[in-house]
Every structure is written in structure tokens, then in C-alpha cells.
């Protein structure tokens, strides 16, 4: 089945071309005359993907051939945009992509079968909770939210990013064991048939933890993400839409209570509903981002030709490199480019769900669908916040936002998806040989 890998290689040529043209456009715009692409930067990233491709050829030749080109496309667009905003950040990011690539190769080499993870169900669950508690204890406040733990050398990690993947692994294993009991209602709550409370307890606990996260870490985005993942996976496991309905209902009630008691959340909601009332204060980031999107228009001026930086090199929109990288892309590539990015994310999600649907066992299905849900939720929450579908919360845009924790975690998730697809499609041992 080398056909799959050959197809992957051909598809990878497109993001390579995108990276070369993008990098060249950025360099040309900066210099004001024709300048060639940053061949060292593009070459490094191409090398990383080539290494992953070779590792796949050796360790997982039957794995999905579309995931890697899709990820490479997102990485290319993100890196080109980042290199134009801050060349040093882009250099950092290339390093993180290399680490991410190493993680993928590590997974392929050391985790040939993801089912092994089922043996550590509670360990992964505890690790996820532990990372969150560690953030609460050791974390430092950045922009009012407690997300980061400094690890020395001027670097920080964002344990919440890693916790997401661990949570999905835990839930996949936990729910596979209990999907039958959860699917059969034994009692009624508010007229809705629900399973016994002892089976629901972990779920309710997570809703509580999510709300607690908002208050203690002031991190609405991660809380929403965790809750969304939990409810989506509960629904996947049981096929009962009552779970997400009840879950979001409880969350809504909790959110209203938090809204009424925590001033910061009220500010966020008003910045969401009426950002133009306070364009210099609470609404500044949202409004400036909307201005940037509007300025991009339908086609945009192209990479490097927008106006996103002040003369001192800082970005006009706060957090442009991280949470708001999509606004930068929307500004420079216009609606067409932004839509293309959105569709690329949808392709990633599509492949994730295809892998989940084709998987042979419940654990694999839940794991693949859960990991895909992370990508979907995260993309929806941050882009939705930017275009004001939902309140703005600080989460990263997978593979595009600047940040090591996010990049490495997302590569790990892709590695798991690749392994699941490999296990699904690999011909039975002995069939051919």
C-alpha cells in the first residue's frame, strides 16, 4: 500500500509551494523589491515534514495520507503570517514544529498500538487533572488569566493544552467501559430520563471543574473547551442528545451565576455584545480585529502587504500572533483566504471523523472523534470569538497560533489519529506475507 504514501508525498508539494511563495511575498513586501523566500526557514519545515513522511512510510504505511498535507498547509499559512509579524517568533515556531515532528515520530516508533493507552485510563485522567491543579498552584498570570507555568530559560508551558489530549484519552477509555450503562436511563431528572446518578457523577464533576476553572484561572476558553469535549464524547458514546442538552443547560445556569457574581465575565459579555460602545477599552481588541478583517475585504492585499504593525514593531491588535492570528490572515488574504483556511480546518475535521467512523473498536472511535472535536471546538471558539458568534475567549488556533505547547499538543493529536488509521487499515497479519 505504498500508494497512500505516494499520494501523501504529492499532496505535500502543495503546502511546500505555498510556503515558498508566501515566504517570498513576505520578503518582497518587506524589502520593497523582489526578494526570494527564506529558504532556510522553509527548508527546515520541509525537512520536518519529510522526516514525518519517511517515518510514516516505515512505521505506518497505511495511515491516512491526507492528514499530514492538511496540517502542513495550516502550518505554512501560520508560519508565513507569523514570519511577517515577527521573524524571531517564526524562528521559534519552526523550532516548535520540529519538536512537534519529533513527537509524531516518537509516537510512531514507541506507540505502534494506541490501545495500550487503555491500560492507563485513570493515570491519564489524573494527569489531566494534575496538570490543571499544577496550573492553579504554580501558574503565573498573563493578561489576567492563569494559564502558564514558567519552566526556566525564559520559557513557559501551557499545561491546559496537554491536558486536553489527556482528557480525551481518559474519556475515550472511561466511556468505552460505561457506554452501555450510560445509554440506559434508569431514573428521571426534571422529566428527562437519565442514567443512575453514580454513572453520571464523573460527568457532573467535570461540569463543576469547568466552572471552577473559569473562576480560579479566569480562563473561560479552556473551560468551554473541556465542557464541549466532555459533552461531545458523552453524546458519541451513548448516542443520546439529552447529555449535551442537559450539560449545556447546567453550564448555562452556572454561567449565569458566574456572570452575575464575577465582574470580569460581565465585561467580556458586554465587549462581545457591544464592542463599539467602548472601542478604546474593553472593545478595543475585538473592534481592531474587525477593522483588520474589513480592511482585508474580499481578496486582501496579500502576505506582508497589510498594515498590522506599529512603527515600534508591536501589533495594532493585541495577541495578534497567538489568539488573533486568524485576523492577521483575514486582513492580508481577505475573505477568500480566510474562507480557505476555514475549509482547510474543515478538511482536517473531515479526515478525523472519517478515521473515527472507519475505526474498528469503540475506544479508537471515541479517541479519534474526541481528538477531532478538540480541533473543531478550538477553531470554532477562537474564530467564533473573532467574528462575534460567541464571546471572545483566549484559545489558540490549531497549527497556526504562535506557541510551543499548542503546536506540540496538536502534533501529538495528529500522531494519535495517524496511528488509529494505521491500525484500522493495516491488512491482517499474515494475509499477504
Amino acid at each position: 500500500m505504498t500508494g497512500r504514501r505516494t499520494r501523501e508525498a504529492w499532496l505535500l508539494a502543495m503546502p511546500v509551494l505555498l510556503g515558498l511563495i508566501g515566504s517570498g511575498t513576505v520578503a518582497t513586501a518587506a524589502a520593497g523589491r523582489y526578494t526570494s523566500a527564506n529558504l532556510v526557514g522553509v527548508g527546515s519545515v520541509v525537512g520536518v515534514f519529510l522526516a514525518m513522511h519517511i517515518a510514516l512510510r516505515i512505521r505506518a504505511p497505511h495511515a491516512d495520507p491526507y492528514l499530514l498535507p492538511i496540517v502542513a498547509t495550516l502550518i505554512a499559512v501560520g508560519l508565513v503570517e507569523l514570519s511577517r509579524l515577527s521573524p524571531s517568533s517564526a524562528a521559534d515556531q519552526v523550532l516548535w514544529v520540529a519538536v512537534g515532528g519529533a513527537v509524531v515520530i516518537g509516537f510512531l516508533v514507541f506507540l505502534p498500538d494506541h490501545h495500550v493507552l487503555q491500560n492507563y485510563t485513570y493515570l491519564t485522567g489524573l494527569a489531566a487533572v494534575g496538570l490543571l491543579i499544577a496550573t492553579m498552584v504554580f501558574g503565573t498570570y498573563v493578561n489576567g488569566a492563569k494559564l502558564w507555568i514558567p519552566i526556566g530559560f525564559g520559557q513557559s508551558i501551557q499545561p491546559g493544552e496537554f491536558a486536553k489530549v489527556l482528557l480525551v484519552i481518559f474519556l475515550a477509555a472511561y466511556l468505552r467501559d460505561r457506554r452501555e450503562v450510560l445509554a440506559i436511563p434508569t431514573t428521571r431528572m426534571l422529566g428527562v430520563p437519565v442514567p443512575a446518578l453514580r454513572h453520571l457523577a464523573p460527568g457532573l464533576m467535570f461540569v463543576g471543574v469547568a466552572l471552577l476553572t473559569i473562576v480560579v484561572l479566569n480562563d473561560f476558553g479552556t473551560a468551554l473547551l473541556f465542557l464541549g469535549i466532555l459533552l461531545a464524547m458523552l453524546y458519541l458514546a451513548t448516542g443520546r442528545s439529552a447529555y449535551p442538552a442537559i450539560g449545556f443547560g447546567l453550564f448555562a445556569i452556572g454561567a449565569v451565576i458566574v456572570f452575575m457574581s464575577v465582574g470580569r465575565i460581565q465585561e467580556r459579555v458586554s465587549a462581545w455584545l457591544s464592542p463599539f460602545d467602548d472601542t478604546r477599552g474593553l472593545g478595543y481588541q475585538t473592534v481592531q480585529s474587525l477593522y483588520a478583517l474589513g480592511d482585508g475585504g474580499v481578496l486582501g492585499p496579500g502576505f506582508g502587504n497589510g498594515s498590522l504593525l506599529r512603527e515600534n514593531g508591536t501589533t495594532i491588535i493585541p495577541e495578534l500572533r497567538t489568539d488573533f492570528i486568524f485576523s492577521a490572515v483575514g486582513n492580508e488574504l481577505g475573505y477568500v483566504g480566510a474562507l480557505a483556511v476555514l475549509i482547510t480546518f474543515l478538511l482536517l475535521i473531515h479526515r478525523g471523523f472519517v478515521i473515527a467512523a472507519q475505526a474498528n473498536d469503540g475506544f479508537s472511535k471515541l479517541l479519534a472523534a474526541g481528538l477531532t472535536t478538540i480541533f473543531a471546538m478550538q477553531t470554532f471558539v477562537i474564530i467564533g470569538g473573532i467574528v462575534r458568534v460567541v464571546p471572545l475567549t483566549g484559545v489558540t488556533l490549531p497549527f497556526m497560533s504562535y506557541g510551543g505547547s499548542s503546536i506540540v499538543t496538536n502534533f501529538a493529536a495528529v500522531a494519535l489519529l495517524l496511528i488509529i488509521s494505521e491500525r484500522t487499515r493495516r491488512p491482517l497479519v499474515g494475509a499477504g506475507s
Binding site: A29, A30, G32, Y34, G294, S307, L339, T373
Partner: protein
């Protein structure tokens, strides 16, 4: 489980469609309304990405250029004005907060690089390099005008035209401002007395006083009512509409000819000529000189050019409107108002054998490679007066400077033709002192109009010396 996966996927597709819809709402539907919001920095930012062209005087002095500012990876440009006080009203400013004025506004397409079919590569690059605009203004003549006005101190304006082409060699207005700080000190500049931002040369209408008599005289000779030697009798007063028109200083001149009347600015004689001509014939001559409509100086924004003519309040009337006091009009009072530009056009037309030329400020536009994009060809607007009438006027105006009210405009060894004017506005605000003229009288190379406002002095005393200095500079520059 696959059914749940499918449903979740469908839900996510719906959510993404919502994102795509909202994104289109902001990027496409609401884009222009977002762009028009006052606190949107992008219009200003996108302008700063353009390397605007230079504005250069005829003698090569750079009045405006763009300097590259290294802004953390993005190339941006800052507009600098090396000689911010030399011709601020002509050059104008270009700023997001203030809008634009002058050449910066009228030639923004050329200066900003939005012209012609640019090479594809430049479009892909997105870097715009604007074209250079070369003015007809000569820095030496302009400097003389600025200095002359500064020496006088009162508000005023100077316009200098090359009669044979219509090229404006200088256009100055006082009080003035500095282009270097107009953006930062805008509010304080607008609060200063005398409205420094107003270009008096083209925007401010005032009674032209006796300078208007050249038009009355032109009309009378053109219509065959009089010749330079036609005899008149002045007894010091001429009653029109029950009120006597008297001569300046109450002088009585007795028997004299038209040449003498212009030389000594005899009000009664010109009032008589006005009545004899009537509204139709005097109005026709005003039409021919360009009164009644905005001068076709298309190199400045239309809002910065005002028409001269007959006014009722701020409403412009037809030049040949009946039922007006044509006698007082004939001596440049009553409801006649003129800008210095219009009066300079009158002087230039007489100097150019009666042919009125379209005034212009920009001679050529070149791109960065030096290739000519636009070359202005002088345009004729029409024969304002017959050439023989112009020759008569020229001789009479020469007399004004040689032995009449305009002797202060005389230049050593040169024949200067001119006419003074002093319109008394009120006892408190002082006079509008005018001088229009040209030199050398036999082969005119320069025509000028000078207006000094709020002065206790007459045109012959305060405006004529400024005109002399400016004409001297223009003739030296032409050498």
C-alpha cells in the same frame, strides 16, 4: 456509534457555516461601513504604505517628499516638507485626520501612484511609488512674494503669472502656516487671527477698487465709446442714485483725457463710462476676462478656488445683471468682488495682447524613472479684448507707473505697466490696497496682482512695492 459521529460532524459543519457567514458579514457586507468609522486606523495606515511622489518647484526645489520609516518589518513612509512656509497653500497637506488640500489633494492620484496601467509586478508587490509633480511656481519668485507680504505685515496675497502661457510663478497668501506642524498644531492654527489656512489668492473675494478701471477702460475702448485721448470733464463729483461719487482725496481734475483718467484714477470719469456702457457691455467684458465663474485653475481642488464677479450677499449674479449700480461697479465698488488670482488673470490677458490663458500650477508629472506622464500644454481661454485695445491699455498702464498712482512699482531700467486700487471697506478695518501690472511693458514676461488687506495705506503705497519686488525676482529668474 457512527451515527453519532455523523451527526456531530453535521453539527460542526453547520457551526463552521455560521463562522463563514459572520466572516463574510464583516469582511464583505460591513467592510465599507467599518472603514468609514473615525477610529479605524486602516485608511491612514494604508496611505502610509505609499511612497508618495515629490512636489518640486520649476527651479527644482523640493517642497514635499516622502521618507521611508522603518516600522518593524512593514515599510511605511512619512511626508516631509523641507520648505514648509514657502508655498503651504499651494502644496497643501495630506493627512488622515485633516483630509487633504492643495496639490496634495488635487494630484493625490499621481502622487499616490494610482495612475495608468502599472506593471504587473508592481501590482503584485503592492508597493506603490507615486509620481513627482513639478510646479510652475519658481521658488525665487515665490520667496519674493512671501517676503514682500511679510514685510508689509497685513493680511494679503500675491499671484504672479507668466502672461504668454498662464503659468503661475508664485502664489502666496498671508498670514500663512507651516506645513511641518499643520498636522500637529491644526487646532491652534485654525484659531489664529486672519485664518492662516485660507488661500487668499484664490479663496478670498474683496472689492477690487480702482484696479477694476482697466476693465471699464477696456470695455469702453473695445466698444468704441472712447479712445485713450477722448476728453472728459471732472468737476469733483458725479451723482448716481442720489449719492455723489467723488475722487480719492476729494481732488478735482477738470478737463482731461482717458489716459489721464486711468493714470490718476479719476472716479467720476470711470463712473460716467460705466453708465454709458451699461450693464450689458460692461458685463460682456467681465465675462471675457473670466468673471462670473470659477477660474479654470484645475490644479487645485475646486473648493479652494472661488469665482469673482457681482455678488448679492454670497450669491453670484450674472455679470450683465440689470438694475444694479453700474457706475459704482465701473470703479470697482458696490457689488464687484475679486480674488487676486482673477485680477492677475486680467493683468496677464492685457499683457498678452488681450489673449487670456488658462492659469495652471503644474507643468509636468514624471514617474520614478523620470518618464513623462503628463505634460501640460498652455491653453487659450479666449480673446478677452482685441489686441489693439490691449496695446492702448498697456500704454495707459505704463503711464500709471511712470507718472501716476503706481510710481512705487517702477523698476530700474524697465518699463512696468500697472494699475493701483484702494477700496475703502470701513473706517475701522482699513483699505483693500491693490496693484495689478506687468513687465516689461513692451514684451511682458510677468504679470502680477497684489492685494494688501486692512491697511491704512493705498495700493500705490503699500501694494505697488511688493509687486515691484516680485516682478524683479521673476524677471531675474527668467534670465
Amino acid at each position: 456509534m457512527n451515527r453519532s459521529i455523523q451527526r456531530l460532524y453535521v453539527g460542526i459543519i453547520v457551526a463552521f457555516a455560521l463562522l463563514a457567514g459572520f466572516l463574510g458579514w464583516w469582511q464583505v457586507v460591513r467592510a465599507s461601513s467599518l472603514a468609514s468609522r473615525v477610529d479605524n486606523p486602516y485608511l491612514y495606515e494604508s496611505q502610509r504604505k505609499i511612497d508618495r511622489g515629490r512636489i518640486i518647484t520649476a527651479d527644482g526645489v523640493v517642497l514635499a517628499r516622502s521618507v521611508k520609516v522603518d516600522g518593524g518589518g512593514e515599510t511605511k513612509y512619512r511626508r516631509v516638507y523641507p520648505k514648509g512656509t514657502l508655498a503651504p497653500h499651494v502644496v497643501g497637506y495630506a493627512s488622515q485626520q485633516l483630509g487633504a488640500s492643495g496639490i496634495e489633494a488635487a494630484f493625490t492620484n499621481f502622487l499616490g501612484g494610482d495612475y495608468g496601467a502599472q506593471p504587473l509586478l508592481q501590482r503584485i508587490r503592492g508597493a506603490k511609488h507615486g509620481a513627482d509633480v513639478q510646479l510652475t511656481v519658481d521658488s525665487r519668485v515665490q520667496q519674493a512674494a512671501v517676503d514682500g507680504l511679510a514685510k508689509v505685515g497685513s493680511p494679503g496675497a500675491v499671484v504672479v503669472i507668466r502672461p504668454t502661457t498662464g503659468a503661475i510663478l508664485a502664489m502666496a497668501s498671508s498670514p500663512s502656516f507651516n506645513l511641518k506642524d499643520v498636522a500637529t498644531n491644526y487646532t491652534s492654527i485654525t484659531k489664529r487671527t486672519g485664518s492662516p489656512l485660507l488661500n487668499r489668492a484664490t479663496q478670498s473675494r474683496q472689492p477690487p477698487g480702482s484696479t477694476f478701471k482697466v476693465i471699464t477702460a477696456s470695455a469702453a475702448i473695445q466698444e468704441g465709446i472712447a479712445t485713450p485721448s477722448t476728453q472728459f470733464l471732472d468737476n469733483g463729483s458725479y451723482v448716481v442714485n442720489g449719492i455723489a461719487i467723488r475722487n480719492f482725496g476729494g481732488r478735482v481734475f477738470g478737463r482731461h483725457d482717458l489716459r489721464f483718467a486711468l493714470t490718476n484714477s479719476v472716479n467720476t470719469t470711470f463712473a460716467r463710462l460705466g453708465v454709458e456702457l451699461g450693464s450689458d457691455r460692461l458685463g460682456a467684458r467681465m465675462d471675457a476676462f473670466g468673471f462670473g465663474e470659477r477660474p479654470p485653475l484645475t490644479d487645485l481642488p475646486p473648493s479652494e478656488i472661488q469665482a469673482s464677479g457681482r455678488f448679492r450677499g454670497t450669491t453670484i449674479l450674472s455679470n450683465s445683471q440689470r438694475g444694479e449700480d453700474v457706475a459704482r461697479m465701473a470703479i470697482g465698488q458696490e457689488r464687484v468682488l475679486a480674488t487676486p488670482l482673477q485680477m492677475a488673470m486680467v493683468a496677464a490677458a492685457i499683457a498678452n495682447g488681450g489673449m487670456l490663458r488658462q492659469p495652471y500650477l503644474v507643468s509636468r508629472v514624471r514617474d520614478r524613472k523620470g518618464d513623462l506622464i503628463r505634460q501640460v500644454r498652455p491653453e487659450e481661454l479666449g480673446q478677452a479684448i482685441r489686441s489693439d485695445v490691449a496695446a492702448d491699455l498697456s500704454a495707459m498702464m505704463l503711464n500709471v507707473v511712470n507718472e501716476g498712482t503706481g510710481t512705487a512699482a517702477a523698476l530700474n531700467g524697465l518699463q512696468v505697466a500697472g494699475k493701483t486700487g484702494t477700496a475703502e471697506i470701513s473706517a475701522t478695518s482699513g483699505n483693500m490696497a491693490w496693484f495689478i501690472g506687468f513687465a516689461p511693458a513692451n514684451n511682458p514676461k510677468v504679470a502680477v496682482a497684489v492685494r494688501i488687506e486692512n491697511t491704512p495705506l493705498t495700493g500705490g503705497v503699500v501694494a505697488a512695492p511688493v509687486a515691484a519686488a516680485v516682478m524683479k525676482a521673476a524677471l531675474e529668474a527668467a534670465r
